[in-house]
Symmetry: C2
Subunit: 323 residues, 2 copies
Amino acid sequence: MTALGHAAPTTFSGPPRLTGARKGASVIVLGAGLAGMLAAYELAKAGYKVQILEYQTRPGGRNWSLRGGDSYTEVGGATQKVAFAPGNYLNPGPWRIPYHHRGLLHYCQQFGVALEPFIQLNHNAYVHSSKAFGGKPQRYREVAVDFKGHISELLAKAVNQNALDDKLTKEDRERLLEALRGWGVLDKNMAYSSSLKVSAQRGYDHAPGGGVDGAPTPSQIFGLKDVLDPKIWNTMSFYFNYVMQTTMFQPVGGMDMIGKAFARQVRNLITYNAKVTKIAQGENGVTITYQDIPSNAVREVKADWCVCTIPASILSQLDVQVS
Amino acid sequence: MTALGHAAPTTFSGPPRLTGARKGASVIVLGAGLAGMLAAYELAKAGYKVQILEYQTRPGGRNWSLRGGDSYTEVGGATQKVAFAPGNYLNPGPWRIPYHHRGLLHYCQQFGVALEPFIQLNHNAYVHSSKAFGGKPQRYREVAVDFKGHISELLAKAVNQNALDDKLTKEDRERLLEALRGWGVLDKNMAYSSSLKVSAQRGYDHAPGGGVDGAPTPSQIFGLKDVLDPKIWNTMSFYFNYVMQTTMFQPVGGMDMIGKAFARQVRNLITYNAKVTKIAQGENGVTITYQDIPSNAVREVKADWCVCTIPASILSQLDVQVS
């Protein structure tokens, strides 16, 4: 959301300090997702009379987890039955929290949501492309180490051929070569090749250990062609992205722990099964028309203000009359 | 330990299957660290009569955590009193478990030690050298992104000057330039310079957000000299090391949760406060002499076998008579 320009979490320096609600002033909040529940929570705290209308039968909106025993009927009508083992879950909505989403982190702390690290970058995980390495998955670390080794060798070669003398002072030149030798794990001839030293980064064929067979054997590096071909640099770059870097967080036990914690603060304000059909703004407030889904009854509620968190894709289908 | 060649965890394929203990055969284990307790556990399970002698008043050896209220008297006599807030702890011994320490991970699971990720690499942490960047700490990501940007620019320049034509086919050349442009975040002139695209990796001066001031402003990159000078490549390389890569683990609540879990399995076998002074091997077994520290009493115990896990630095000071 940050990257899309839809939120400004880095400017968060504490919850809003809302005061001075007009006596008896009322607010209808549309949607019991995190945004709606948080708005309701802060407005109620400030003295407003608040109610939330929610289409679904649960709070949290996109903040959601699926566990064994759950079932979900998709828009097209297909029903998914979840058969995960106890303790397992899947977050079909958001599933990771960047360290700089300070607003959310604040409310997790305030509402008692236990967080744990989210493993975003795992050097030992496999990267897989059906078009690369003969379709065989490779360890991230193997390919990433070989990529930096090969480009270090190439750059060192260019430097030593004086190809970059117009860009580098003599001192920069020496420092750069030292850096490439260390960072790229080049040998004494400034070449990148299979060795125990390289294996100490990319992994061994046989890891060092104790006992009779304790001596390590190096692994075979990939060629330059191999690491350029599958665009592995694309995969590596992903983890350099500001919003995707370590450290990230997740709630212990599933992402919906956040929605549930928010809902504990505003549970008496939520009306579920309320399908909003019309939003009409008048001179003295706003009138919301909704259908009570189980009974099909059409109802109207009025308030001085409305906070609408209905997604734009749904909102565009409603009868909205605002000045 | 793996890197030092003292262990062979990668060959672990399950606990040892010990059977056929001679009826009544006995083993003395010296040391109630993880190695000693594990040996005692497996030997006792196999039918041996086992006892453990431990110098200290607690199990775990180097596997240890300090919490508020603890105190520890160092060899020189100085006493450290720990005044951490509740829930905080420090692991003065080992504090992280690489993913490939399969033996330890096996026993953590078997003995019910809850593990959690250990954050080894944090892109948002500061790197600090009193000699670099005017002594001012810098974010890891800022320096790491600038390092790869600058070397990408230099290598692209060399490639475009045909300095590496003897090493690269025309196809490799094109692929390499594409990789450097993407991985190094170079601009259309293949230069590394401050931009919103670069800031999306290294961080912004003002991050993108909503509202009136939502437009992001790019951050200023460091120069090539700056990122070579502090040997930041050394810091970056650390996380490429096979034994230091993500993902790593730690026990929930402190490293000593492992020693405590091991001790629950063998608690009746441990004699604490036992300072071993002599190890004597004879024709029919081994005799261990130790001092009971509180009473100063000297005692002897005999067994058919001895498993010694006393550190070599201590062992070298003892009277050891083995054939």
